[in-house]
């Protein structure tokens, strides 16, 4: 059985996964560089090193993410939605509804038993409801993304934030900090604003079955808990791998399908 790879060059982070026999033998997440090509080269080099193989060993590689068209070494590019659907189904075989919150967009999709996307919605216009929103807010608060997620549990009275504009929300956060509002209430307000934006998209696809979340924001416990409250359903956690690499996993799985003769591109 050959090695296959998936390379997901996102706006905030780049991810690469190398698989053999549907098992991950190497996976890496790095912060994206200004040029997508540089990000792709760096993340793939690191993943190959982790797997202990060379680029020549890869039988097929699919690129995805916003920088996918700038990757030199891939055999094919596939949209993030298709890759996340595939990856989600591998991470949670019972998943029927997938929420993917990336650095610059947010997607909700329904998938079939093979991980193929049957319906999807994306955020329509701005950074709110995306990973960038949380990153900006965490920076303003002076906490890590992980700490930001945990603030919701400590809050007694979350603030209401402007949630349709990241810049204005940032101004709000600065104002709240200067007014002496407890950081946990501001953090909870940020997570709530984020979750509320995502909940609209989730409900719009009429979620069914097990719900699974991919992307880096899946690791933010505050957003996930608030989102669960808003949609009234549990969001299942990934146990097999980091949910942030779901897109790259999906790309690698699609690569495997290609070399097995399934779903060859036209």
């Amino acid at each position: 059985m050959s090695f296959v790879a998936g390379c997901d060059v996102g706006s905030l982070t780049s991810k690469a996964v190398i698989m053999k026999n549907k098992k991950i033998i190497g996976s890496i997440i790095i912060k994206s560089k200004p040029r997508p090509k540089d990000s792709a080269d760096a993340v793939m080099e690191a993943a190959l090193a982790e797997a202990g193989i060379s680029g020549g060993d890869i039988a097929y590689c699919i690129g995805t993410g916003y920088g996918r068209d700038r990757i030199d070494f891939v055999d094919e590019v596939v949209s993030e939605i298709s890759c996340h659907g595939k990856g989600a189904r591998w991470l949670l075989p019972t998943a029927q509804t997938v929420i993917d919150i990336g650095g610059q967009d947010c997607k909700t999709m329904k998938i079939d038993t093979d991980g193929n996307v049957s319906r999807f919605m994306t955020n329509d216009k701005c950074a709110s409801g995306t990973g960038r929103f949380l990153e900006v807010m965490a920076n303003v608060l002076g906490v890590s993304m992980e700490e930001l997620g945990k603030l919701s549990k400590q809050s007694r009275s979350p603030v209401t934030l402007a949630s349709t504009c990241t810049v204005w929300a940032q101004a709000d956060v600065i104002k709240f900090i200067n007014s002496g509002v407890p950081i946990e209430d501001i953090g909870a307000g940020i997570n709530t604003a984020m979750a509320a934006r995502v909940a609209i998209l989730v409900n719009a696809v009429k979620p069914e079955g097990d719900i699974f979340m991919t992307g880096g924001v899946a690791k933010n416990v505050g957003v996930v808990a608030t989102l669960e409250k808003l949609i009234g359903k549990r969001i299942k956690k990934a146990r097999k791998a980091d949910p942030q690499i779901a897109g790259a996993i999906g790309a690698a799985l699609l690569s495997m399908e290609r070399i097995n003769g399934h779903g060859l591109r036209n």
């Binding site: 329509d124 949630s163 349709t164 709000d172 509320a196």
Partner: protein
Amino acid sequence: MRPEIKEYNYDWLMGRALRTAANLPRGTKKEIGHTYQYIPYFKDIVKSLVDLGDPGFQTLDMLATYYENILSAREKGKKLCATTFCNSPVILYAMDIVPVTLEMLTTIGSLVWKRGMFDYMDFCVETGMPETSCSSQRGAQGALLSGLCEKIDFAICDTPGVCDTNANAFAFLTEYLNIPFFQLNYPSSIGDRRSQKYHVDDYKGMIAFAEAQSGNRLDYDRLAEVLAEVDKQDALIADLEDMLMLKPTPINPIYNMMLYGGRFCFSGHPQYTKLLESMVTSAKEKAITGVSGLKNGKENLRIYMSYIDHYTADLNFFHYLEERGIASVGCILSKNFRDNSPYADALAGSLYGIDTTSPDAMLDSLAQMNARLPMVRSIRGPYDKKGMWLEESLTFAKMYQADCVIYNGTPGCRNTWGMLKPYARDIEKHGYPCHIMNDDAFDDRVESWEATRERLDEFFNIRGLL
């Protein structure tokens, strides 16, 4: 929408909350204290109204009755008609139809509900309405679409061309609920014979539609009674407008909201007359002694809100005006453009009168009144056309001695955003500092109240107004 919200009938929830609040003035101190414990988020609003004395009690009673009418309509064999604040409920009352005015319901919900109408607004978006649609409808509309309200029988709106965002909300609502829908149209001018005739013909079509949907024939004797009540109300409104021109004005800023809120809910209904009488009595007492209607008794500044006020949770905007000693001389919603108003001469040709001498005269009066409801009158044509928004704003700013003009709306108000910058430029040219608020009057999530307040403060400070 959060699952727990779906557990409660929205109309019932609002109706009970408002009736309990309306009963408070009759309660003992202990009862009031206990009730406040159970309404931690609505308490401040109730207190604000209770502090106003009788006009505040009347307002609470009126709002509670409005909801009770909706809740009891089916039982009484009446039909429910979804409509807009731009359409007068007078004809509906005359035909024994219960109006459900979406913007009023969103405003009430914003005041009563802990998180404003956010959940319902978001539900509306989930069903397919754009996020940038008008939030004044989106709140109540979300509740209606989610099936948490009394069933609506049909809808009437009169905003195509005037505010397409508003008209589209009704088109969406009626399509989603699969109910009949009638739209009144308006030409881009007002006061000329051709447009007057257009209004009457169009209005007759609307009456025929309402008759067919409700099964009730329009009774002209009943219509005469309702119009007589409107006439009485307009005279009281003229008294209040007279007092609004005094400096300092004895009219508290929140009176403006009570005035137009009452008109949108209960124009032609005796309960609104009672509220206006109470407001006039209370304001007159202050006018006689030359005291400002602001609670601290000192008026530092006079503003004219050239569009709408700000309504998010806790009545923050009105509290802010009180804190800063700012009197509001009204907004586009509070002016009724009646021919007996104190500004009648200044806006001659674009006002209406009431004539109950014959069925045709009554229909003409009604059509002309309806053509002068908010937005319909002022922004049906280009902003700088004679009799339209700019001329009207400058007239009011001058007559009421406003120190500045402030615009507030929602991101959905594309009818005004399209012309707002030149409008503001022209207002400035005439010597009035003009501030454009970038928030959403019904949704704090667009711009938090804290940011809105700071920007207002900055405007007042930089322009040397406060």
